[in-house]
């Protein structure tokens, strides 16, 4: 009995704390996406979109169909650069603007998150 209650409690809290992975196109199409708290956005850093000042880094994530502007403060992984894949974690301000608080590290230049691979493949066609 106690076990069932605790599993229920764990699952409930799991549901409150998951991060959904979205592409810029998902964000455009999803009607009530703003109400979600934290999400991950994945795609490619658009060429010549990167702007840096002392407080933040701004860039555009594109999935080759739609794009979204991102503002980020924090460490960038070593393989972060224009034209490369990126996954950013944070909150949406509106459908075109995303404030990231984490950019996921990748250790291998050939590594592409599985989520991203599918999307990029689909849109490149």
């Amino acid at each position: 009995m106690l076990a069932i209650i605790s599993v229920f409690f764990i699952l409930k809290s799991l549901n409150n704390n998951i991060l959904y992975f979205k592409s810029p196109t998902d964000i455009k199409l999803d009607q009530d996406i703003i109400s979600q708290k934290k999400i991950r956005v994945g795609g490619m850093v658009k060429q010549s979109s990167l702007k840096i000042n002392s407080k933040e880094i701004r860039f555009i994530i594109t999935d080759l169909k739609n794009e979204i502007r991102v503002s980020y403060t924090g460490t960038v992984p070593n393989l972060f650069s224009e034209g490369k894949g990126v996954v950013a974690e944070g909150e949406l301000v509106d459908k075109n603007f995303f404030i990231a608080d984490r950019i996921l590290a990748k250790h291998d230049e050939n590594y592409m998150p599985p989520e991203l691979k599918d999307i990029m493949k689909k849109n490149a066609k």
Partner: protein
């Protein structure tokens, strides 16, 4: 040449495993009470060959024999000799060979050191263990042979991933594997116990030390991985709930539960089937962890490059293992009624096990949940630290309170005659907590509870220690581990609550102000090292509060083979706090991204974990000196 030596040694080892099983089966029915000497001899031979096999691979790495795919993919002739050697287990194939070696050695030592136990039980354990050895050897030989050759032979290797070229990570896999694979021996012993009906106190005694050894090594293995992530990955913390970290934590919970339930089995002959379940669970979780990490099923930020076929093979092996052990368990299971007094040591230990299971289920669900949602409704999600923090931390407070009063409880029937003292200790904890809040001038209710409950644990365990000294009973293993656990949680609480962190972008010569700190980017220089170039920054951190100054030198390293950039954090560790800076260049612009952190009591987190595992080692020595 080395390739054919290695491959044939692996093959001979499979034959030896089969021979041991056949001899053992024959030996079972010879009516004598002793195990045939021949079996010992074959085991010695088996151990010698697998160790030679390992050194064959090590020498292939030392002499850079790039005709082996594994060496070609993970080594380079210009690499320092130390990392050539540690590169042997820094990859999938080599680490699996290490896995098999530990299986083999543990199997032999278990046979050697359990002479007081019945022959039938020891022989069955040996047979099961050799089935595991053969299984992993087959897997090694057919889907991840470290001795596979590549032709034509490449002139130069691809190099070891620079982030793996690190002392902490050199010893991390062996330590963790002794924990992971060490649990195989009580998996085998548990099955042998079910098959032969050898149960109760004597069974507990036969596996006790093995559980303690694997648990202590597992603890150290997790620690080295965590320290590595702290300074090498530049994440600036000690735990990130990354799937790979979770995979190492799951068997740890099961082992911790097992250590405790074994005490009850030994002293009171209770919880036999529960202990068996924990034995089986620990090894199954260890293999599952490896499977999840290696197959690439879990989307972790630090996985080896992966191959689905390997994952599938481990999955088949794992399924067989689970099916067999569950069937056997159901067949042999007898429900036995025991009366537990709700206020007794037995109950408190059972409560410990409930908590461990709760943590285990939480971490397991959090880790595998994304796989299910992906399969069920194709939505891609990830589970982050907020989930674990919100579930684990509140329960931890309760756990610490039980951990404080549990160990003093008496067997069978306990009475609390020291409630007054406990109240005094609790009040002491609360007062210290307020002093901490006053000193740091910031607070948060949840972490106050954490601090109070961990202080409660530390003080009541200390009181326990004093009683132990008075009783002339110098077994400190338990109190050392428990006090260290209290300190671990206390340090984590303080660290979590009072850390300062700031991210900003600076150009050379610029200064950033943050609270009472001024961080100046003073200079930048380029240096050549043997196998990498380094861009070294110099940062002056001045604190206006006490007019102190310190210099930190984070690096960006540029490795040639393979060409990779890594960021080396610069850390000034102190007894009270760590200062931590990482520097990264943003897409070749003039700006450098700086992460500055002040992390109080960081070093105490590492020290506490060392002491937790020390408790385990001490108990092993104590048991060993008692028996021989």
């Amino acid at each position: 040449m080395l390739s054919s030596i290695g491959s044939s040694l692996l093959f001979i080892n499979i034959l030896l495993g089969i021979t041991i099983i056949l001899f053992s089966l024959q030996n079972l029915n010879d009516g004598k009470n002793l195990i045939n000497k021949k079996i010992y001899h074959i085991c010695v031979f088996q151990n010698t060959l697998i160790i030679i096999c390992f050194f064959t691979l090590v020498s292939a790495f030392i002499f850079s024999d790039f005709s082996l795919i594994t060496v070609y993919q993970n080594s380079h002739s210009l690499k320092p000799i130390f990392y050539k050697i540690t590169g042997t287990w820094g990859n999938h194939e080599g680490s699996l060979l290490l896995w098999v070696i530990i299986l083999t050695i543990f199997s032999f030592f278990f046979l050697l050191y359990n002479k007081d136990h019945p022959k039938k039980y020891r022989i069955y354990t040996l047979i099961i263990q050799n089935i595991l050895i053969i299984g992993f050897l087959l897997f090694l030989l057919f889907s991840s042979n470290p001795f596979s050759i590549i032709s034509p032979t490449p002139k130069e290797g691809l190099g070891l991933n620079p982030i793996l070229q690190d002392p902490a990570l050199a010893i991390h896999p062996p330590l963790l594997y002794i924990g992971f694979v060490g649990s195989s021996i009580y998996f085998s012993a548990a099955i042998a116990s079910l098959l032969t009906g050898y149960s109760g106190k004597l069974f507990a005694l036969s596996i006790k030390n093995w559980v303690l050894i694997s648990w202590s090594f597992q603890t150290l293995g997790i620690l080295t991985g965590s320290i590595w992530a702290y300074y090498e990955l530049g994440w600036g913390g000690f735990w990130f709930w990354d799937p790979v970290e979770n995979a190492s934590l799951l068997p740890w919970f099961a082992m911790t539960a097992l250590i405790h339930s074994l005490i009850v089995l030994e002293k009171r002959n209770l919880f036999y089937f529960w202990t068996i379940i924990l034995c089986l669970l620990t090894f199954i979780l260890s293999v599952t962890g490896t499977f999840l990490v290696r197959s690439g099923i879990l989307n972790s930020v630090h996985t080896f490059a992966n191959d689905p076929a390997r994952g599938l093979n481990i999955l088949i092996f794992l399924t067989l293992m689970i099916l067999f052990s569950v069937l056997l368990l159901f067949k042999k299971f007898k429900s036995n009624n025991y009366n537990l007094n709700s206020n007794s040591k037995e109950t408190f230990i059972l409560v410990n096990n409930w908590f461990m299971m709760f943590y285990l289920i939480t971490v397991l669900l959090g880790t595998v949940y994304p796989i299910f949602t992906e399969v069920l409704n194709n939505s891609k999600i990830s589970v982050g630290p907020p989930f674990y923090n919100s579930v684990i931390i509140p329960i931890l407070i309760l756990f610490l309170f039980f951990m404080s009063i549990g160990p003093q409880a008496k067997w069978i029937k306990n009475q609390f005659n020291n409630l007054k003292l406990l109240a005094i200790i609790l009040t002491g904890g609360i007062i210290i907590n307020f002093l901490i809040i006053y000193f740091f001038k910031s607070h948060n209710i949840l972490s106050s509870f954490i601090i109070i409950s961990s202080l409660f644990l530390i003080i009541s365990s200390l009181k326990d220690t004093i009683e132990l000294i008075e009783n002339k009973n110098f077994n400190f293993a338990r109190v050392i581990s428990h006090i260290a656990f209290g300190f671990l949680i206390l340090s984590i609480g303080l660290n979590y609550n009072f850390s300062l962190e700031k991210d900003f972008n600076l150009k050379l010569g610029e200064t950033q102000k943050f609270k009472s700190y001024l961080i100046k980017f003073e200079s930048l220089q380029l240096k050549d090292f043997k196998n990498y170039k380094a861009v070294i920054g110099e940062f002056k951190i001045s604190n206006s509060q006490n007019n102190s100054e310190l210099f930190l030198n984070p690096e960006i390293r540029i490795y040639e083979n393979p060409s990779t950039l890594t960021y080396e954090a610069s850390i000034r560790s102190g007894l009270l706090k760590d200062y931590y800076i990482t520097m990264s260049n943003i897409d070749r612009s003039d700006y450098y991204n700086i992460k500055f952190q002040k992390k109080p009591f960081m070093i105490w987190i590492w020290i506490s974990v060392i002491f937790i595992s020390l408790g385990g080692f001490l108990r092993v020595f104590k048991n060993a000196s008692k028996n021989y």
